[in-house]
Symmetry: C2
Amino acid sequence: SEEFSFTNHSHRRFNPLNDSWVLCSPHRAKRPWLGQVEKASTEQRPEYGPQCFLCPGNTRATGAQNPNYPSTYVFPNDYAAVHKSQPDCPASALAQVAGTDASDELFRVESTRGQCSVVCFSPRHDLTLPELSLDEICEVVRTWQSIYTELSKDPDVGYVQLFENKGAMMGCSNPHPHGQVWALSDVPSEPKKEMESLKKFNKKHASNSSLHACLLCSYTKAEEANAAAGESTNRVVLQNDSFMGIVPFWAVWPFETMIVAKSHVSNINELDALQIRHLAEIMQGLTCRYDNMFQCSFPYSMGIHQSPTANHPDADCCHLHLHFYPPLLRNATVRKFLVGFEMMAEPQRDLTAEQAASRLRALSPIHYKQNTA
Amino acid sequence: SEEFSFTNHSHRRFNPLNDSWVLCSPHRAKRPWLGQVEKASTEQRPEYGPQCFLCPGNTRATGAQNPNYPSTYVFPNDYAAVHKSQPDCPASALAQVAGTDASDELFRVESTRGQCSVVCFSPRHDLTLPELSLDEICEVVRTWQSIYTELSKDPDVGYVQLFENKGAMMGCSNPHPHGQVWALSDVPSEPKKEMESLKKFNKKHASNSSLHACLLCSYTKAEEANAAAGESTNRVVLQNDSFMGIVPFWAVWPFETMIVAKSHVSNINELDALQIRHLAEIMQGLTCRYDNMFQCSFPYSMGIHQSPTANHPDADCCHLHLHFYPPLLRNATVRKFLVGFEMMAEPQRDLTAEQAASRLRALSPIHYKQNTA
Ligand SMILES: O=P(O)(O)O[C@H]1O[C@H](CO)[C@@H](O)[C@H](O)[C@H]1O
Ligand SMILES: O=P(O)(O)O[C@H]1O[C@H](CO)[C@@H](O)[C@H](O)[C@H]1O
């Protein structure tokens, strides 16, 4: 009788980091696609965009003028989702929206403060992260470090969320290479869930060696062995002494990856000069492979998860990692839609993590534009 | 000093149904949009599409021929994500992808079976749900009932997920009006989370009257009172004796709504003829308002949550409701992107639930195409 095969049969995989399941239907990639086709991100841009709010020397919507910055540049988001100061929300304020006799169990609300900034990765309007030099990417990492350090000192900041939306498909409204920081007074839902999992794992394994007491230390260790064991168990795309770029066993997006520290590092600030360089190397090798896959600027949302702030009581449990969620599935214009079933029931993917990793590994780490130059 | 205002200040709201938070930044709707612009869904289609896989009489990709169906039509999905029979996944199979000494805590996997079908809502290629007559929508509901009844009898079915992806923006690959059914052997993550919340609420309030022992019975009751109390606390878009169409207090998508039974109904099968009509009325009034908002075919993903199967041990706790997740924000071509911050940290919205409800209420329940005919 037929045996179970991960590449032919539907299965669910569990994500121990955020305590969720994903449905994997590897045979589904074969169905024909008659749906929405996107615009491929292959446009050429000038080195300087006269209308661009992020280019050096230009005036922003609010009237502020950007300096002639030579590398990275951080400024407050002109349309921040949260503000540094606003009135508190007393229990009585709830009456505004929920009437007076509202059960607070069903109508729970809290005021939230914070700060939002924009982080330009380069003065050049025409480049993207994978097209920067290694030194320039190191400078981006050092800029993230300063942001994290500064905001961590503010007692009103509970979490520093660093992220990048790359490409119009990911809601990015300006192609100038940049990321964002949203620092909130509360720890947001996703990092909170992950922290709970890390703490639970830590508690359960505390009597073991310190290495195995961390979920992500154990995971990277196991994946290093799996990678060495052969192609069919290899989810590692690239690695060096400090970091690993991997398609997690429980990936949701077709070519989702995670860059994870191989030793226990709680936050970006703990990285020394060599580790910064190692992180930049993996970021470069991974994002170049992304662009090379369909010879386009590969869209994604990227986010850094780490300890809430340097002095948070659970900071030690946290383990620095970066998630990349790219939507493309078949080519530069056909994406995966996480819609009806995924929103209402459970995320679903059309190829295995091993298949995605194998395709990414096979690609050159040198950017295709550089190859043809 | 300034007082807290829900329409001016950032706040988080809690979703007690699936135990999550949403960040609400109502002032953010004011920022200019320079990002991706979608194709408005305003195309005219013929009543019959010769190339359409769903039209009556046509031959599908697999060679099967559709009958000349007069109202609704259900057939097996030719590219099903799950299949009725496949080999089990013994523990030893894990070695294929995770090596032999993999810790099962980090590499958890289970085989999953099921059935996927397509539900055509009408033989007419040119219509969508809001353009069907009330009788035709009643027939759609009755078709869902039969599907649920049939699948509930199958001991291999653990949950019947009924859903609709409407519009190319929501990954729908064929404009012919249709929904889907994915019936899985397991209860998927989302309905499972909701069931846990409903059970917890029930346990906590079991000593109260039976009405208040259900989270959604209590919620609809509270929202009826809030709606009667005035505009600023009114999230109800429309209601009749059996159902309410409401922007939930904790909505994530800009114009997200929920259709919820006002009395305790566990699944669609419990609806009698009058309740079916009442549900169809609310579906029609709500989806017509959606189309009227930007005078286009308003895209959304819709899903029905109810008891897993009729004889599931926790079936009584469940409370029938339909979620509508529409992406449009500003007009027919500018959508909300739930990307970087939302994926990595927490969902964020740009207007309050009360503002969304007020805009939906102000629209005509008669479809704009009918108005101009
Ligand atoms: O089954 P369809 O309509 O081809 O596919 C659509 O709905 C599915 C279920 O939500 C998704 O997994 C697909 O990504 C989407 O394109
Ligand atoms: O801040 P931006 O780039 O204008 O906006 C983008 O990122 C935000 C944070 O993920 C999202 O809330 C917006 O929907 C998206 O368009």
